[in-house]
Subunit: 433 residues, 2 copies
């Protein structure tokens, strides 16, 4: 069977997975945790093979770090699984319970989405994390990992799959795709795959988004802004800015652009540049920024940049910078050049803050805090499916809720529409819950 | 400006529309209602032109009926507008209010989606209905109607647009596309249009779905089932079946397929066929169905059909029919051939009903009632955006809620992530609302 047929089969089996009890699904997660620990030597050995091949192929050190699956990753994975067990069941929640008329009761009840396609690059820990989220939420998942960790992925998948089946879940609920050509085949399965979750580089995610009819949850870029308003506490602004840029520059919620109100630019920019320089970060800026910082000592030279570079996601110790005329121009800039991820204003002015938070068209709009808070764990969701910059279904950091949909259940004793259409009967809505 | 530039401009203006108050938006709807009444002669005259052209072009009578915009349509439209004014504001609802730590407060607040593309065939009343829903929910909308009612659409749009601007909403919040070529241009605006709502024939909706990267809300087909279980009250089953098929056969929630348990087929099928025949409807069926009904008097001859025809949406007084071995085979059939819209089981057996409602992968799963109840107005949503057979964002009949998303607002006094990452500080989640 090729992958398309397998996925079609999975689609038909998805309702059985959706009908599994939360006890079964939690039991499966517990067995997966145990199995990962029991098979760790085998997993690490497979990963050593992948690491050796990567070293030989001259793969960059930063990428090699992501390929590694070691004691630390295993420990985090197992801890994550046990945390997941403790989370409430996302399935079967009654969102609406309404009597339409006597004896005619409507319920809107959450249920799994069905078949989730997960395509990820590099990190084998993503396989453990996302397959567990799918199991917890009663979804079937087809998993395609990067070829760089093919050995690790294969062992991890087998260990997880065996444990899930041992817990009594349908054998068809998890499927691994191993061939690179299967990515494009999977992208064509829009009749059978309900949702795609890609994890990897911007380029990789963009490729997925551009080559499928299946809804994609995620983001291809994170161009986050910090706008320092005229009425900012400038010491706070430096502290927040430095955290947003340098606390972990490689991730999507790190800030990429600093916007400063013109009335404070001459005073604030030198402080900002020094604060960033202390943490090894430098600025690039418009001609105005370059001029304002030209004679400031102890900071790296500010590289000039053009307007069309303001959508750049550096993921590094570099930051774009521009001077703006107040909160209105800041908002226009963000909505034009940003990626609708997370943007912050630093101000003591309530009106400016409210304008910013209302008008910035992003998943996260922050006042006086670092963009780095944009994260499912920090928001208290327990587990994170990903961060979405789309506006449909789920937006921003997505927890288990993002893996469920709902269905309407209507129960009566033979009611038909004709008497309502003729006016003989009428609805009497009464919410029951 | 071509339509793509206009839509790009709209995208940048969408936050201003999103920031409008509910008083302004309701006032706009009231002014639209008044303006429609004040300009009715002009509207009807434009429609007469379209109707004359349609008659001359030999357009089918059923289609002509949908092109007409008369006193009745106007009255319904105005009544709908006033009902919409009475509905609560879908924008600004606080879905989550959580203290992450002292002084660090997270809110999830509903907001408009942004720019909605509405593409519809034939019915000019859809222009009134959907543009009002967009206004109520603070969204911008670009509207493309069918060329058959170009004159009517133009007058309706102008009347609505003028009223909306008079109410103080941004002039750019509504835009009309008039050229047929603009449909394909609109489908390419995936950077600026957040959601597409197509209204029209299955073929038309499928074309939209297959030619855009923009998320589409709707359904291309409605293949709904009635399964009559062994334990059915057979009189009730006939009543529900006849309503589901014949009460209004042209609509998506009308039933297209009858499934009957084998143990009662010989007894039930003649009653079903007679009930349908009384309302002018006939059956098509498998060889087994044809045989069981071959010698029944007073019903139309049952036309034989093959398995691959079971996904047919007749939209007419015809129904597919098959005998199945119990609820399991019924569910398999529905998940395989259905359109995930709405399906009903008729049974007195709680276990069979629960199995059916759990396992059928459709937006609506009904027990002992007609599939024709699948409708936003009947569900008590007040206004209906459409019915979605997709599982992401909104499923089934969609009310105003389907036109909003949410954003996260995070407010603090200078909090940064570093001390949480180092373990110096930790989150203390406390839900406030």
């Amino acid at each position: 069977m090729d992958i398309r047929e397998q996925v079609h089969q999975m689609k038909l089996e998805a309702p059985a997975m959706a009908a599994s009890s939360i006890e079964q699904r939690n039991h499966a997660l517990e067995l997966v945790a145990q199995a990962l620990e029991a098979h760790k030597d085998q997993i690490f050995a497979a990963n050593e093979k992948d690491m050796a091949a990567a070293a030989e192929a001259g793969v960059a050190q930063t990428v090699q770090k992501r390929l590694r699956y070691d004691e630390g990753k295993l420990r985090d994975g197992v801890a994550g699984l046990r945390q997941l067990v403790g989370l409430p069941d996302p399935v079967g929640r009654v969102l609406l319970d309404r009597e339409l008329d006597a004896g005619l009761e409507l319920k809107r009840v959450t249920c799994p989405i069905g078949v989730i396609g997960v395509i990820f690059e590099a990190r084998p820990d993503a396989l453990v994390q996302i397959s567990s989220l799918c199991v917890k939420s009663g979804n079937c998942a087809v998993l395609k990992g990067g070829r760089e960790t093919a050995n690790t992925n294969r062992v991890l998948f087998d260990v997880i799959h065996e444990a899930v089946v041992e817990a009594g879940l349908p054998a068809g609920c998890l499927l691994q795709a191993e061939l690179h050509s299967e990515i494009d085949e999977l992208l064509q399965c829009d009749q059978d795959v309900d949702l795609l979750i890609p994890r990897g580089s911007n380029k990789f995610v963009r490729y997925i988004m551009e080559h499928t009819k299946i809804p994609v949850m995620g983001h291809s870029s994170g161009v986050c802004h910090v706008y320092v308003d005229a009425a900012a506490d400038q010491d706070m602004a430096v502290r927040v800015l430095v955290d947003a840029k340098t606390q972990y520059p490689a991730v999507c919620n790190a800030a990429e652009t600093l916007l400063v109100d013109r009335s404070i630019a001459a005073e604030f920019l030198p402080k900002a540049a020094r604060g960033l320089a202390e943490r090894g970060a430098r600025l690039r800026g418009t001609a105005e920024v370059c001029e304002l910082l030209a004679h400031v000592e102890g900071i790296p030279t500010v590289e000039p940049m053009s307007d069309d570079e303001f959508s750049t996601e550096y993921g590094d110790y570099v930051m774009s910078c521009k001077v703006v005329d107040g909160v209105r121009e800041a908002v226009d800039h963000i909505n034009r050049y940003g990626s609708h991820h997370t943007d912050a204003i630093i101000t003591t002015d309530d009106a400016a803050a409210e304008y910013f938070m209302q008008m910035v068209d992003s998943a996260g709009v922050y006042r006086n805090c670092s963009t780095r808070f944009a994260d499912g764990f920090r928001y208290g969701f327990g587990a994170e499916v990903g961060i979405s910059t789309g506006k449909l279904h789920a937006r921003g950091p997505v927890g288990l809720d993002g893996l469920v949909t709902y269905k309407y259940r209507l129960v009566s004793h033979g009611d038909i529409v004709a008497p309502y259409a003729s006016g003989e009967k009428s609805f009497h809505y009464r919410d029951l819950a």
